[in-house]
Symmetry: D2
Subunit: 350 residues, 4 copies
């Protein structure tokens, strides 16, 4: 009953096996390993993007911050949701890597940006004089930090607004596979066909040890990305171990299989919780991440039995009125079992 | 016969086993895993530094650049050797992480800084007015990029000069274990007892997959290091896999055993080469890294037989006078075998 | 009838005379001029702060951005009003000089921050983990960008909240003199006695050519400010010409006399406008800056007669319904005459 | 007898008059003043560069650092002389404004870079991998910090080397007028006709109060320069007072007249000193700046009589052997009089 985060789950066995297989003999360092060629080819195939430039880093924040640095000049602003990971969870990594750009924070339910809100934010930020920062870029997170999924059509509408204002678009896909499974979209449909220029393609939260790809659908200035990765300290010397993870992830659709497992557990959990009187599941969770209000007593039972997850406030679940609703976040992963879910639901039911 | 770099060697089997063992169940992310507590305790024990703050990152450039950012304000300069990794091989990562500090480059044989050269550089850079950057810090690399080792006494003499000028001292220990084995010093003797304040404690070049520790012997401002690591994108979510590597590395002296193997191969190689007429081994390699001048014909034979290593020039080894001496770099690692060395020596002998 | 900005007004004659007097013979550069000693002593006297460190720069953005860089580390956030100059009008200069910190934008009428809003913003931003930026500093603008003035009591209440959260406080005093005149407070009451640690003490908008002081009430780390000023390119070589302006400004209370003139014109204008049917003066302008809604026809008449000021929208005042209210900003300065004001009022009356 | 620096001299009377004339009525701020249009047109005419973009700032370090930030990406290096102002005298302003680029320091007599030295430095820095910073730009100072002048032919040879390596070229012209007078070159010959892309066109050291122009001979990305100037805090609100200085400077060749005066005094001083036994004038000063070795006793006499100038060491001129040669720097300016020079020469003669 570990619902703290999908990054607390173990590495998929296929990935561990691939690392062991990669551990033979010597390999050229810094991305010149043979496995990286395989990864590059496979990502291009999966995304139907034969020209895309593909780079690996080990952390999601590294992938996002490098993307922002690459896409947004220091005198501009990044349009993103107020609850975007780049806004709330990266300790101003984007501001560091851009050399001091701004983020323009947009509100919206489910941590999704609506076209109207984006249009208004762009209009308010549009200013021809030099006192104001320029329009820099759009960054969308899919799956969002509140568990909702953008459809390709929704992404396309937002990127079209950005493009009309002269801005490129980034997708933070830390849970990209979960979003694809939730929407049924293909990788291409969700990204470049919908106007995304650069994707942070997450693996770590979905069964890898620590590997994320950055996919530049337009490779024109890719060398700049490489130099930024190096001076950020994100180029691995023993790169084959990043390559091996990503190659295993993409092989035979493992990445989508793992996300499907995580989402199925998430949906089972959400449905089960929604059926319990006194429990409120916020919005309709699209994948493996949800925010739920439950009575204090339910929290107390679950925690006493060892369930682990984040509360969204500093409430003490062991003291106070039993029926006070307290908000929590629950995340399932590829390794969540039905038994875990059922045990948790039983505890909440009381 | 792969002498390109020690970062081209595989991961030690003990480390791979440890990763597999760590892959059980859930673990709290971002360094709150139980293995990290073990790593912290072990490093404090090994370094006889019970108060030290210990952090893990995945790359040597990350470790160095974060250390520089932590130790040197933007309006100061880092004294280092001209051939230091932070000078030549990190694409200005240090300049990025410090927010635009300078490096003051010092020459010296074997990529070692001499006390006289450091004293002169400090004297020249000392200036009380605001037009000049201030004295920032000293950074020493041990083992050096030219294969020499500083003794603790040498380190102490240099850090004393730095300290007298108000500067803290950093050691880039990407090959720290090799330097210890070469000198017979203890970890404490080579670092804090010799005036080192912050150590980049390398593991990747010596049998790990991608894990380096940064050891702050004075933990007073450690939280700043943590925040810098986060906004640099260097905090791992699935941190247990960094911890597992480092724990295995430190267990039962594996790290020193691996370095001893690498050094032994290096010494066998250096001695063998030095005995071949027409071959010049530069300086006296202290550990597993050496620069060697060999006739073009010897290079041609070795390469034709599959030997891999870097030339220090753009010479073509397959065309031109047979006896032209051409400089190359050779690096052995924990996985280098005696057979590889002997095969290579035979090829060079012709 | 020039109400575009107080920075469009000329230099006060006393200041021009002082520049001419300063133009005799040689003077040591970079702040070692004799006049600077006079300025330093005078500011310490005026602010009743005998230990304060005092530095001159030529622009308000320079003063603010250097102050932010000095006070806020890169991994923290600056609490300020959404309409603060540092937020809207400096093209992310603060983000540049801090090395990539964030601004946390707070709403509030008259561009003033209320204690409740600040307390809430601090509470929301308080987070002990490393994923979130830290609490950095508070920055208040007085006079605000919407023409309101904080009283010393109001400032004290806000800085107390900041201090309780561990944050120092900055005041952007581009129109500091106007705020003092409006509130009747002394310089000390408005700043360090009210918890302000660093003041951008404006002169340019109030009769100088281009000179602002930064006053550090705690001189402990003043050398860092000096180094930041130098590397920002804001240290004047012919510094005596900054000193001469500031010395003249402070002599015999010229600075307060000029602000009193500007405020008197502003109050005359505001009162006159408020009395005109169909004209709405927003809030109660405290000094020399106001936002006013007037019918399109009134704008058309004023502009046709040569009145200059900013509209807050892209409306065309020459076409469209005559009585549509259109918002504009009006700023008076030390050089505004009663005749200008009366002429303008007559035009608006129609 | 004030030879400390040309920035210790007063403002030329024509410039002060122009400031007084500019002080009439209102003027649009931030460079929209009518005088700036005049300045722009005049600089384009003087430089025979009808397309050039022209911007004013108040300090030489501001002009240089903004130019470097505009021309050199963070992952590249600036080739310059070891004694360049950007290397030794700007507290890493260039590193700040570029976001952490490097300077590659080149030695050479008279603080001049020779083609051979530049070619070698470029060759050594050329490296296609991502571990090394890229070739960024060339920056030449003319007049150099050691008082020598590059001819247009020399500049052209150096910029051709840079261009062949893909680099643009900058000229730090803090003493540009002195270099023109010394060489007889036209502004166009010394700059864009010789391959210079961006010029820091100095005025402050040559009779202005604090005004420098940055001239972009290719205006293609000029808006980026404007945004960088703004966020650096270098855009003046009361911009007319920068414009007025620069307009007066350019009117009727005042700038060249002032430089001719400074150079004539410098040449008189250098010739006079060279004729004194025991005095050694280093190199052949081209203009108004020279380095001279004189016996301690000569220094003692001059200083006792009130002569002011910098010693290049911490020697005490009042104690020690009378004939020890001690190096000093002497700078004349537009305001240096023949009487001052003759008085000084008499003192040195003893």
């Amino acid at each position: 009953m570990f619902f703290v985060s999908d990054n607390a789950s173990p590495v998929a066995p296929e990935v561990l096996d691939a690392l062991a297989r990669a551990n033979e003999g010597y390999a050229m360092p810094y991305g010149a390993d043979a496995l990286m060629a395989e990864v590059r080819a496979k990502i291009r195939e999966v995304f139907e993007a034969p020209e895309a430039a593909v780079y690996l880093v080990a952390t999601g924040t590294g992938a996002n911050a490098l993307s922002l640095g690459f896409m947004c000049p220091p005198w501009a602003t990044v349009f993103c949701h107020r609850h975007a990971h780049i806004s709330e969870d990266e300790c101003a990594a984007g501001e560091f890597y851009t050399g001091g750009a701004k983020l323009t924070l947009i509100d919206g339910p489910g941590a999704k940006i609506t076209p109207a809100a984006l249009a208004q934010a762009i209009a308010e930020a549009t200013n021809p004089d030099v006192h104001h920062v320029r329009l820099g870029m759009l960054s969308l997170t899919n799956l969002t930090e509140r568990g909702a999924a953008y459809t390709p059509a929704e992404v396309a509408e937002l990127t079209a607004l950005a493009k009309a204002a002269g801005m490129p678009s980034h997708m933070d896909g830390a849970r990209f596979a979960n979003a694809l499974v939730a929407t049924g979209a293909t990788p291409a449909e969700m990204t470049w066909k919908a106007g995304i220029d650069v994707l942070s393609f997450g693996g770590t939260k979905n069964g890898l040890m620590g590997a994320e790809a950055v996919v530049l659908f337009d490779p024109a200035k890719a060398i700049e990305f490489e130099l930024r990765r190096m001076r950020g300290g994100h180029l691995f010397s023993k790169h084959r171990y990043l390559s091996a993870q990503m190659a295993a992830y993409l092989k035979d659709g493992l990445w989508l299989k793992l996300a499907a497992q995580a989402n199925a557990s998430g949906q089972r959990l959400a449905k089960g919780l929604a059926a319990i009187p006194g429990v409120e599941v916020q919005a309709a969770p699209a994948a493996n991440l949800m925010f739920v209000r439950m009575p204090r007593s339910a929290h107390a039972r679950a925690r006493a039995a060892g369930a682990a997850y984040y509360l969204m406030s500093s409430d003490d679940v062991t003291a106070g009125p039993a029926d006070t609703p307290i908000l929590c976040r629950l995340v399932t992963s590829w390794s969540t079992t039905d038994a875990e879910v059922e045990h948790f639901l039983a505890l909440i039911r009381g």
